[in-house]
């Protein structure tokens, strides 16, 4: 991992192979590892699809099927997640609740809210300090773009 360098902006995510040659392969977090994502959605189908897509893109993905389970994973993770993706309408702890709790305790952790039906979940997602709100259905590429923006745009350029 040590030979990789990281670029700050999502569109230029390349990894250095240690020389001058730039290889478009993978993006790493500040620990030099694949970015850790926590995805929470009570819709198994959507959860599976998101996990499959993002794992395939080389993210380190952890998933939960309700807000409480997500909350526990978040609190118990030693290393910390680089980003959280959560649905809004869920049993037990809603996405709104989860985002409020995360933002209160870990304000630097970016959160993407994905919302389903109705006008209110979207409005609440915005109100609850989500860094980005995506309404279902959305393009997976749009999600990936948002993830990269949020994880890497906030980071200092390690080359500087």
């Amino acid at each position: 991992m040590g030979e990789y360098e990281i670029y700050p902006a999502y569109e230029d995510f390349f990894e250095y192979n240690g020389s001058t040659e730039i290889i478009r392969t993978r993006k790493l977090n500040r620990m030099g590892q694949s970015p850790k994502l926590l995805i929470i959605d009570d819709d198994e189908h959507i959860l599976a699809k998101l996990c499959y897509f993002l794992s395939d893109k080389n993210y380190d993905v952890t998933s939960a099927s309700d807000g409480l389970e997500g909350m526990k994973l978040f609190e118990n993770d030693q290393q910390g997640f680089d980003l959280v993706i959560t649905d809004i309408v869920m049993p037990k702890i809603s996405g709104m609740g989860l985002i409020s709790i995360i933002k209160k305790r870990f304000p630097d952790t970016p959160v993407i809210a994905i919302t389903g039906w109705g006008e209110y979940p979207g409005a609440f997602a915005t109100e609850s300090q989500a860094d980005k709100v995506l309404s279902k259905p959305f393009e997976l590429s749009e999600l990936e773009k948002a993830i990269n923006e949020l994880i890497f745009s906030k980071r200092p350029n390690v080359q500087d």
């Binding site: 049993p91 809603s94 709104m96 709790i101 209110y120 979940p121």
Partner: protein, 356 residues
């Protein structure tokens, strides 16, 4: 100190876990579940686990008061706001400042009050009745209902935006019949609780067989019903009697030899006022006269059938016992569709026969 949340079921474990995770978040909470499952107990536990436990816990039952009165209870009023308002009165939201306001039966709140509540949840501000001043309240809102609010939202009986605001955290308490493993610990807890309250008389612990019957019972009134049963047991100290009352077999209609139900005092409603039967389909056919005729027919049929069996269908003997003519008994056999049963003689019947 709040009543602890008793139970060993997975669902109760998850609720305990959820309480610990959210008690200090101040996020609005909606507690749902059938009547008697212990929604207020969960609210009290949330309060006790929070940093607000030394502040007020104010309970308001939204179904108990008419609309206008509930509004003045929640938000207070200024002197002169309405006839009889001869002083200022602080509302429950103001009293619950920095503490908890527990809105029980929230599903019964009127649409106009729902709007006002929504405003409080959004801004934390409200105006008492007849007042122009804005009051700020940092009350933590915990609401509860036994209604299906999602259904009410679809039917436009409950505001959708208010529903989402209230249900930031949702705690659903399953009915007791769906978590029978919680019944023994609940019984142990209340035996201890009630016995110490009246320490001279300890409630007997149910034996394994009784416990199985208690676990299999449907508990329509949930934990509250179980509490009532234990209170009763404290008085009568007899589980057998309680089990007899809990199980419909113990009080349902006796089944006659002809396979039909005959009534006893407790089963009249089951037999003759069965609202699943034709009476409920057509109210016009429901009458006391009709029920009386039906009851009389059933009794006649049962008695004649018994006497005929006792006398081996000797119509002369039977008519003598029944004090009716042979022709009448023939008519009754045909009219009431009485059929020969397998050989049956009760002790009572034998005595009756011997007397003739």
């Amino acid at each position: 100190m709040a009543t602890p949340l008793i139970g060993i079921s997975e669902s109760i474990e998850r609720i305990r876990e959820l309480i610990l995770h959210v008690a200090d978040t101040r996020l609005n909470i909606l507690i749902t579940g059938e009547t008697g499952v212990g929604k207020e107990v969960v609210a009290q536990n949330l309060y006790q686990e929070s940093q607000r436990k030394d502040k007020p816990f104010i309970k308001v039952n939204c179904a108990a008061l008419p609309d206008g009165l509930l509004e003045s209870e929640l938000f207070g009023f200024e002197r002169g706001a309405f006839t009889g308002a001869d002083r200022n009165k602080r509302g429950k939201f103001e009293l619950a400042h920095q503490g908890v306001i527990f809105l029980d039966e929230i599903g019964d709140m009127s649409p106009s009050l729902q709007s006002k509540l929504l405003r409080v949840l959004q801004s934390g501000e409200f105006s008492p009745l007849g007042s122009e001043r804005e009051v700020r309240s940092d009350a933590w809102v915990i609401a509860a209902t036994n209604q299906d609010l999602e259904k009410n939202v679809k039917e436009r009986l409950f505001r959708e935006d208010l529903y989402y605001r209230l249900s930031t955290i949702k705690i659903y308490i399953p009915a007791l019949r769906n978590r029978p493993e919680d019944i023994p610990p609940l019984i142990d807890y209340y035996i201890e609780e009630y016995s110490s309250e009246f320490d001279r008389k300890k409630i007997p612990t149910p034996d394994p067989d009784t416990m199985e019957k208690l676990k299999a019972y449907s508990w329509p009134g949930n934990v509250r019903e179980l509490q009532n049963i234990l209170c009763r047991c404290r008085v009568i100290s007899n589980w057998e009697e309680i089990i007899r009352d809990l199980y419909p077999e113990g009080r349902s209609a006796a089944v006659s030899r002809s396979g039909e139900q005959v009534f006893d005092r407790d089963s009249i409603f089951d037999v003759f006022l069965d609202f699943k039967s034709e009476y409920s389909q057509d109210n016009a056919s429901f009458s006391l006269k009709k029920i009386t005729k039906e009851a009389a027919d059933r009794v006649e049929k049962e008695v004649i059938s018994s006497v005929l069996d006792i006398t081996d269908w000797n119509l002369t003997k039977a008519s003598k016992i029944l004090k009716i003519s042979c022709n009448t008994i023939r008519y009754k056999i045909s009219d009431l569709d009485i059929k020969k049963q397998r050989k049956y003689r009760s002790l009572k019947g034998a005595r009756l026969l011997m007397s003739f």
